[in-house]
Symmetry: C2
Subunit: 209 residues, 2 copies
């Protein structure tokens, strides 16, 4: 299998344009499209081929309201940690699309899966949840290639999410994803555009050893 | 920005063909190509735009030998956990390309970065390391689009890696990546092909809530 320069140019453009999208239109997304994205996500690498990702699609209005309430509590607590100047900036940020996103996926990691027979995760058990994060990243790029926007909400009490969504106790909450058609498009991250945190070159410098 | 069906078809093929590559030829990889891959990796999403990824390129033979010794100790300990039948299968698996991969990158997460001002990681501090995992996944796909193979080694004592590579104490070890030109190509995972763990549909079933 080979890929040409034109494909690589477009892949780079997709990676550059990906964005965490929080301004999402309520228009429906074709369920077959979501299915196709999940088909790709589960092709992600996983430690020991353990495939520990578990997806929960959240449609029930009561459960969605519980997630919003969870976010609002955590977001208020986060706001209170900042000094007045930063708090003002924080309060202005758009951090999630929970109220409008037509598709909402909570993603968990089954910490007790026997798939993979423990291979590769004795010294670094966290590699199991890292596998789930990889699947989310693939879902993200695949969604974006269709023009869909995805936003990852992490301002949540993970134990409360597990309770509110009634999932098995052994599932670790990894991410809550808002998915849908974006209201607007940008090449720069929302947090850079709204002067919270710019891109820097700190993480781009390579140490040599 | 829009992408067409042909691009999406090729992206799906890339995702399906990605593989964790452990059989890597020693031939050099153009440093400019590695640079270009890192340029893409740092476009990954990160919590609060914290960009916590830190890359260490490992070339020194003594340090590479220390990583191999680390792997061998951990791998032996892992082998001893299995019963005779599984241990035999485990011993036959090819789990890493440490001895031949021309490019070796240790990837860390700076747990003390002030970038992002803590946004999005008060309730889930692990979202910082998840951001690094996302960058690795992008690097992986981008490498594969050039025909390069990447293998993620997790059978390592993370504290020892940090010591052997002499990195700041606040850096959390996430992954050791072997990168280079593959010896062979496969559409199925190495662990499926060698009958360790097949793909299943457990993680593909979506719970509805």
């Amino acid at each position: 299998m080979t890929f040409d320069d034109e494909f690589r140019r477009q892949l780079a453009a997709l990676i550059a344009w990906r964005r965490d999208v929080r301004r999402i239109r309520p228009d429906a997304v074709d369920p077959a499209l979501v299915d196709g994205l999940l088909d790709l996500a589960v092709l992600a690498p996983s430690v020991g081929n353990s495939q520990p990702w578990r997806f929960v699609q959240v449609d029930d209005p009561g459960r969605r309201a519980a997630v919003i309430a969870n976010f609002e509590r955590c977001n208020q607590a986060a706001l209170e940690r900042y000094d007045a100047h930063r708090a003002q900036a924080y309060a202005r940020l758009k951090l999630q699309g929970l109220k409008t996103a037509p598709v909402q996926l909570a993603v968990f990691c089954d910490e007790t899966t026997e798939q993979g027979f423990g291979l590769g995760r004795q010294t670094m058990p966290e590699s199991l949840s890292y596998s789930v994060v990889g699947a989310i990243q693939i879902l993200w790029l695949a969604a974006r290639a269709h023009g869909l926007g995805l936003g990852w909400v992490s301002i949540l009490d993970p134990a409360q999410v597990a309770v509110d969504l009634d999932v098995p106790a052994a599932w670790r909450f990894i991410a809550y994803l808002c998915l849908g058609w974006p209201e607007e498009e940008h090449l720069d991250p929302e947090l850079a555009r709204h002067e919270w945190q710019d891109r820097t070159d700190v993480g781009r410098q390579v140490l040599h050893r």
